[in-house]
Assembly symmetry: C2
Homo-oligomer: 341 residues x 2
Amino acid sequence: MEKEVTIYDIAKLLQLSPATVSRALNDHPAINSNTKDIIASKAQEMGYRSNRFASNLRRQRTSTIGVIVPRLDSAFMSTVLAGMEKVANEASYNLIISQSLESVRKEMANAKTMFDSRVDGLLVSLASDTDTLDHFDTFFRKGIPMILFDRVMPQQNCTSIVIDNVKAGYDATAHLIGQGCQRIMHVAGSIRRSVYADRLKGYKLALLDHNLPVDDSLLRITNLTRQDGLDAAAAIRRMDTPPDGLFVASDFCAVSCMGALMQEGVSIPGDLAVVGFNDDPVAQVIQPSLTTIHYPGQEMGEIAVQSLINHLNGRLRISTTNTILLNYELIVRNSSRRTES
Amino acid sequence: MEKEVTIYDIAKLLQLSPATVSRALNDHPAINSNTKDIIASKAQEMGYRSNRFASNLRRQRTSTIGVIVPRLDSAFMSTVLAGMEKVANEASYNLIISQSLESVRKEMANAKTMFDSRVDGLLVSLASDTDTLDHFDTFFRKGIPMILFDRVMPQQNCTSIVIDNVKAGYDATAHLIGQGCQRIMHVAGSIRRSVYADRLKGYKLALLDHNLPVDDSLLRITNLTRQDGLDAAAAIRRMDTPPDGLFVASDFCAVSCMGALMQEGVSIPGDLAVVGFNDDPVAQVIQPSLTTIHYPGQEMGEIAVQSLINHLNGRLRISTTNTILLNYELIVRNSSRRTES
DNA sequence: TTGTAAGCGTTATCAT
DNA sequence: ATGATAACGCTTACAA
């Protein structure tokens, strides 16, 4: 257990004041570049490391960003987090990550912890049953910036990072129509979350634009779990006039549904063309491979952190850019490909 | 931007000393439980929150645990992290998470960042090309505890949390043999990592125990990527006497391989029975569903954090329990089920 | 049971 | 360009 080296130790050895050492280490312009070099190399030699707690205490900031996500164990979320970690790390910010497990109550507790940890900023993707941002009021009041990503709350005055889910839902549905589908079912997620409500909107718009009827019996609002996929499959089997197209708001759910149907002899894409959402790794390995909307998770994470840091450094006022829209991509695979084109 | 409340503010209002307030808030035994109550409610009322940085600075500890994993975007790792987050959160520890992206160089950089962040302890799952723990020496020298999980380094004197991969590999292989397989191929991961080397060992042991030859042409050392799965499928197709059983050290790779084979008309499990590893969500949704080793990720994460915290609190000397072995489970599904039993 | 006071390692302000 | 000094908010001997 060696004793920790401080700027006092360096100062003493170099016959300088701690203040000068501190300034040199922080690359203060008023310090002679020669002494800077001397101090830097001495610090290196002595194995000095800055004490973030002393620094944070003095500076009244923490270089820490809080992240609250619905679940950590989802393929999409982990790519988002990977992107966040990358940028935060490069900018020497720390990340505190916690999960709401899709419950507002836990989300409120998480928010409190983040607040007590004095995060400099907050990145949030909302739980499925969250319908106000009141539990983040403490942050707003203290002027701590917050950015919502993916699961956002559109009408609220808070910077959001999303893809255009209406358009993506439209494209997915239009693609199915282009493949000859006339009766398209949609398995949606909780419409309390705009991501799912918007995909549903896009689905309806596409139907309308192509003069197809919007049939409520072809719409299922679910939690997009594996079981929901199986249930959807069972429902399809029971229908008198089953759909010939299926748009599911999540790949994992889509794949579960497909599996169940295929086991009962439904041919995909022959009898039923399927499109998912997210480009989960499973979409590639499944047979037939799943047509889906590729969703830039890594990039979303990177941009979220970068925007927050820019804001913290005063390089970009967050309030001016209120919504950041990322590109997505429809990836056509075998689950929906009926024509060679 | 309201002014931050400190223990001095509370002390002044209550005509007490800051020391008493501090002690009361920390539930110090020597404080009158009555004054404790008064102080607690006043703190609550004034919206007091403790300043972790002042506290850490004084206490010389950070209540922060560092976590280094190979990749954040893997299904298994995210369940581990979910478990870690849960326990850490409950014990009001923070987690700093970073990824090595399977590179020692990045792992070294991560370690340095963790060190500079003054984490109280470290949890590490090693990159595929790490073959010494030298870059963690700074931690050992300072007496900062470190626990390895999943991707461990067995011969080293460092607490490890793992499953018995030899036994699991044995069980997977023995299961295939039990289903009548005589020529079993094994697609392994980098044998620099004991998790994969051990599964391979188990595979060989099972063959020997059942008087089956160990044939090197039936062994592939890979990185367990999707492409490796496709390559394995191609290799199988090219073989004069193809295998009738396949044990892959990772579900995702197994599923890729299965998909490619099935597309070429190979029947599973009829022609080839397959067993994977990890119980990735994909194992359930694939057709046929994949037999695999269920690997308790969530639990592994929980235990890792709990052990570390116990150690930090002096409740359990880490060095005494040198390896924690978790249970795993062979989950038999359709990809290998040939007999009804 | 409570109070006093020093100190944790930095950085910002004011001098020089 | 550098130095002296006072915070930042908390904890903990030591005293009372």
